[in-house]
Point group: C2
């Protein structure tokens, strides 16, 4: 007897919930172990683990869920402890990346609260310690991110990988690619303005591929499949779905970074513009805007002291040049490609439904 | 027939040389693989791997050698590829720690050349890129350190650990402890001045235990033993030797950081004083110096703009208060404890000779 769509949705929701709860419990137990260890070293170091804990408690767990459904699509069992550990490792890796990203971007907020380096500089100021509060904040956050990165790896080493080297290879590739992609991103911020305008979109596209689409979408899904021993053909199919999906996801993120509601995104309005992020949206704007507007964008993007009026003018240029509409069209195209690929995957229907729901949520979200 | 001391020394030198060459070749091949991967992502990212390569090419390889002799003492074979990979993983971890340390300490030089963040800020300035050169340098070096940390783990995952979880546990503990220790170190720089003078030595001793002695000495030796399947009693004996040895090593480092010859250490004179490192040497100085001198130390330590005359006065206070002599006495005591423990280890004579030579080199070095 076939399940009704409602029954399928309920079953998927149940699995999502159970898995997310499993990952949360795993992270909780693991960080409690580390809390104990740090308490023995010195109670003064507990702030490190506490700030990691806060960070991994929130979030959408999108990467972990992609990993889970990649595993399920390749025949992995719903109640495996190994896939829970893999999801927890991905969440810890993401937390580490966020901690260091926020230092690099000088973002003082994360999910509506203070970022890790800001927590430490506030601690410094509150305690009236010597020397510079901001410098202490950055230093402590570099170390916290390093610890978190190490914990991610420690968790991944707990995943049962049998004798199959494929999953480890994906995890390794993911890390190297995202760091290279992040470097391209900060390089574009400083070197982009002196490069040709007409290749800005291509450069921004390469950045989001490595920094975001492969890292946040393709690799987690492929990792889950590889852990379940999937054949290369299925893993290639996963990539054909998840890579364009991840690109659409990042384009959505870029749009939200400029036009999103700060209350929903947890990021102050104009933050991305003050950081000087050279996104595809910016590239399209520079491509399409009139000369005076182009110049205004090039001159003001990345200025930390942009006024609200200047932020509003930048936003208006993005709308009036048609760049926002073009970005939305790209999101639609990429989504179509992704979901067409999903339809051809040799996986059970309910896994396909679960991946489709996850994907549609990612590209049409508002936060 | 017993070997003569000369034959033993020659055999040890041969093993040291072969092992170091093996680690260097392993690192070379591994980084060539990663170079290829980054070239495919974008040639612009190759600077990341090049700066890592420069860093792991130098160095004393002390951690790797301790790991090797820990392995040999527990019956591991001289020609194992696994112990070479373990040594390479330790070297990559150390390189990652140095990259981030230099950002934290604002050290512009490393082994006589520019530190990684300085290389990137110079690249920025040379290319005439937009925005801030120093900020770009720090951001790029954070990412390079993260990449290097991930590569260390990737290398460690290649080590054959059989079904024995002990080596992985040591590697994990090493990473967490060193990061916690580094946090205590930066915390002491800012919070130390407002804490009681008479506990400064105890606080500094705790820092060097975790940040340095366990990380640089105890854990590498125990790791090698664990990889060879050593019993817990031998591993405990390794700790009894390597922990005081590591403490003596770090005290030597602190002395060299203030009194060492910049030509030999590769670090500018006064660097440690300008960084404000609250070492055991500083703690002993604050303990023993007269009131006016105490105040001078507290007020000036950590001032980035210390003049050469102020550096000289700080050095003189350390000598005249007897703090330098006390530190040397501590180095001698710790060394004695370490070598007494070494003598009782149930390991082959030539391994004992090798560890003794390695240890004596570490505590009496001049660079």
């Amino acid at each position: 007897m076939n399940a009704t769509p409602e029954q399928t949705d309920a079953a998927i929701a149940g699995e999502n919930e159970a898995y997310i709860a499993g990952v949360a419990a795993q992270l909780n137990d693991f960080l409690a172990e580390k809390h104990q260890l740090l308490a023995e070293i010195s109670p003064a170091t507990l702030v490190l683990i506490d700030s990691i804990k806060t960070l991994v408690t929130g979030g959408k767990r999108m990467r972990a869920l992609l990993c889970y459904w990649g595993w399920r699509g390749a025949g992995g069992a719903a109640d495996s402890t190994s896939i829970i550990a893999a999801g927890a490792a991905l969440e810890l890796f993401q937390a580490a990346a966020l901690i260091h990203d926020d230092i690099i971007d000088r973002s003082d907020t994360r999910r509506g609260g203070p970022s890790v380096h800001k927590q430490f500089s506030t601690l410094h100021a509150d305690q009236g310690w010597a020397l510079d509060a901001e410098r202490f904040g950055h230093a402590a956050a570099i170390l916290t991110g390093d610890l978190c990165l190490s914990l991610s790896e420690e968790m991944f080493a707990r995943v049962d990988q049998g004798s199959n080297p494929r999953a480890r290879a994906v995890f390794n590739l993911m890390r190297t690619e995202v760091m290279a992609g992040q470097y391209l991103d900060i390089l574009e911020e400083v070197a982009g303005p002196s490069k040709p305008h007409n290749t800005a979109v291509a450069r921004a596209s390469a950045i989001i591929r490595f920094k975001s689409a492969k890292y946040s979408s393709e690799h987690p899904l492929v990792l889950g499949g590889a852990l379940a021993g999937a054949q290369e053909s299925l893993l290639a199919g996963y990539s054909a779905f998840a890579l364009p999906l991840g690109e659409a996801f990042q384009l959505r993120d870029d749009v939200l970074g400029v036009f999103g509601d700060p209350v929903q995104t947890g990021k102050p309005a104009g933050d991305d513009l003050r950081e000087g992020k050279r996104t595809v949206l910016v590239g399209l704007t520079i491509d399409a805007a009139a000369e005076a507007e182009k110049e205004f964008v090039d001159k003001n993007l990345g200025r930390q002291d942009l006024t609200d009026a200047e932020v509003a003018r930048l936003c208006a240029i993005m709308v009036e040049s048609g760049a926002l509409a073009s970005t939305e069209a790209m999101i639609a195209d990429l989504s179509e490609t992704a979901f067409a690929a999903l339809d051809t995957l040799p996986i059970e229907d309910f896994v396909s439904v679960a991946l489709s729901a996850l994907g549609r949520g990612a590209v049409s979200r508002t936060s």
